[in-house]
């Protein structure tokens, strides 16, 4: 039995680069340059337009909820709440992820529902528990902002702003939100500054890449394997007492087309299974990057853990309960000192201070002239 499980695990891990966990790893380098998709090359003007749009609540149903409403610069481009606040009258069902380094993800959202920042922006702005924006309405709002009309024309060459281009501009802005290695202690240490890491953080790195095995999934410069794993993260304690969370969870299950039994029996977040329709993917979520953790509490897909120490404790226990939990997720037997060292290392992956990002002054909405509408504007 044990042999069969081990063999199965071995097969499962072939594609994962499983051996890495056992071999002392070379420290990952700094993040490579961001590659923009061929159909949306970045430019200074596009990034600046995207920055304005990121803060613009006109890109929501009732004009209340901008991207920046749930991705706050002062909170590491995320939120402090477990699950995100969501659209007024609702609550979201997952933790708002940081935008820092999101440009390096192959899939976006915790279940990997979309494959580009452009698609993520659109999905978030239109989702009923996120932005709840109507596409045609949001597009028309942009067309009544003279400065946007000028900027979209300059960047995209269209007579009137198009919503697709708004998502492209926002994505271009987001691709500039990448950790600056000069501000990240671990990156400075890797670059040769031997004083950049405390002894505790250095011991933490050794644990991370060795005994604790974190690097199995948190690999590479992003400290993320771009894959999906079921850790058995506990339900939120309030999940069974929070009406709006229940409504949202059931609505998500309904609109994602789960089985009648699943819809009727509970509200668990099925994660990757929503996309693959494979019960073996139940409860799997995409490995998050470990960069900027110090600025982006709370943690996990539902924000269940408030501190890094809680996260380390969770992994030390071998994770939680999940049918799809991998066999290699086992209790680690870390000492208290080990845990402190790991946390010190994890904190060293964050910029010393996040750059200030003041909210831009948004350009005003103006009526279009009625007389002579056909004769030019």
């Amino acid at each position: 039995m044990r042999a069969r499980v081990a063999a199965a695990v071995g097969v499962a891990l072939l594609g994962f680069g499983a051996a890495r966990a056992q071999v002392p790893a070379a420290p990952p380098g700094t993040l490579p340059p961001v590659v923009a998709p061929a159909d949306n090359p970045g430019s200074a003007a596009k990034v600046e337009l995207g920055r304005l749009l990121f803060w613009d609540p006109r890109l929501s149903g009732n004009g209340s909820t901008a991207c920046a409403s749930c991705h706050l610069p002062a909170l590491g481009m995320g939120e402090r709440s477990t699950v995100s606040r969501g659209y007024p009258g609702t609550i979201h069902w997952r933790n708002s992820q940081t935008i820092w380094n999101a440009a390096h993800y192959e899939r976006l959202f915790w279940d990997g529902a979309v494959g580009s920042l452009e698609a993520q922006a659109q999905s978030a702005a239109t989702g009923a528990v996120a932005g709840n924006g109507n596409p045609a309405m949001m597009e028309m709002r942009l067309r009544f902002v003279p400065e946007y009309v000028r900027r979209f024309r300059a960047v995209f060459g269209t007579e009137w702003p198009r919503l697709t281009h708004a998502w492209q501009a926002i994505a271009a802005f987001e691709r500039t939100l990448v950790s600056d290695p000069a501000r990240v202690p671990f990156d400075r240490w890797v670059a040769g500054d031997r004083d950049a890491l405390s002894p505790a953080a250095q011991r933490g790195w050794a644990l991370f890449s060795g005994k604790a095995g974190c690097i199995r999934c948190h690999e590479g410069p992003l400290f993320a394997d771009q894959r999906f794993h079921a850790l058995g993260v506990p339900r939120l304690p309030q999940a069974d007492a929070h009406v709006l969370l229940q409504v949202t969870a059931r609505w998500q299950n309904l609109q994602r087309g789960v089985s009648r039994e699943q819809y009727a029996s509970g509200d668990d977040d099925l994660g990757l299974e929503y996309l693959t329709r494979d019960a073996r993917d139940r409860g799997k979520f995409r490995t998050p990057s470990l960069r900027e953790l110090r600025h982006t509490a709370p943690y996990m897909h539902n924000g269940a853990f408030a501190t890094l120490r809680e996260v380390v404790d969770f992994f030390d226990r071998g994770g939680g309960d999940a049918a799809a939990k991998p066999a290699w997720l086992q209790p680690l037997g870390l000492s208290d000192d080990d845990k402190r060292d790991l946390v010190a290392f994890l904190e060293s992956l964050s910029m010393d201070e996040l750059p200030a990002m003041p909210a831009p002054e948004l350009p005003p909405t103006r009526p279009l002239p009625v007389a002579g509408a056909r004769d030019g504007r």
Binding site: N62, G63, P88, T90, A136, E139, T365, V370
Partner: protein
Amino acid sequence: MSGGARARAACAAILLLAAAAPAGAEKPPAPTARPPALQALPPQARVDTALAELGRQLFFEPRLSGDGSRSCASCHEPARGFADGQPLSRGYNGSEYFRNAPGLLSVRLKTRLTWDGRLDGADLATAVRDMVTEAHFMNADARLVQERVRQIPALMQAWQRAAGDASEPYAPRLFTAIAEYLRTLDAPDTPVDRHLRGERVALPPALREGLALFHGKAGCARCHHGPLGSDGRAHRLGVPASPAIAGDALRMITLLRHHATMGVPGYMDEREDLGAFVVSKVDADRGRFVTPSLRILTHTAPYLHDGSLATLEEVLDFHLRGGGAAGELAPVALEARERAALLALLRALSPPLPAHPESVPQDYAVLPRGRR
């Protein structure tokens, strides 16, 4: 356009309108038809009272809107004849609407709904769905509404009384329930109705003269006939473009977005309300709006599709002048007594409103895990 082209366009328009039915004054009356006349209100509709009661509660329920702030009653207030008293309705938060909210009493008798006639009066449930999910009205996701209802015990009790204990709410049936409630909202019967039914009624002389003028010299009945005093068709009165829209970016946004979603060619340049054109795409329908009901007018001021006239006197005088530029109306010269008689008739169709008890939204409740 040449004469031939114009004739062809008119033919095309009639063909289109025969199919889509939202407009057009040109349709020739059937030769055998009696002259159109105001008619008495019909008997009450037969309704499913349990379903209508569910619909009543839903009508006053703000969680039927995207952000939980706007109910049907936000723009259709019972005390205002289910209109809102504003020249231009508010619409959803972050938006402003570009038309006047019509009253809803006897809405079941309308053949076309909304000022441009884009919705079928015989299908109130679909109209309700349109209002609930439309971005500029309530902007709600229908399935999210459904899941909210499941956690409002008072609504669930009403649902189960209407649909059975084992039944689970689903959005289309919720909209049908509101439609059923709307079918209970009748304009109050009046002495004029009893007179029109042939009952012996001591109608004041002014009302008798008003009725005679209405059907005769003043020509009102040409468009204002049937039990609502509406032909359900679209006409152009030549109401000047509303400065309240032209000066308000949020209303223009909603208007142009409406033109865009209705598939109007060159919609960015169509900055005035096109009316029935958005349905037919026939130029003759530009600026045509569906004839409103004449019931309970005194409770539903202001008037016209853009709410631009505040009083019945102004509306009557606008019609008697022959309307505005490029309108279909011809001027009518009336003596002051005759004008007063017509006004008396309109007021007689507006008796005091019956009480319409409002429903007070009840709290959500947590559902036990596993019982969803």
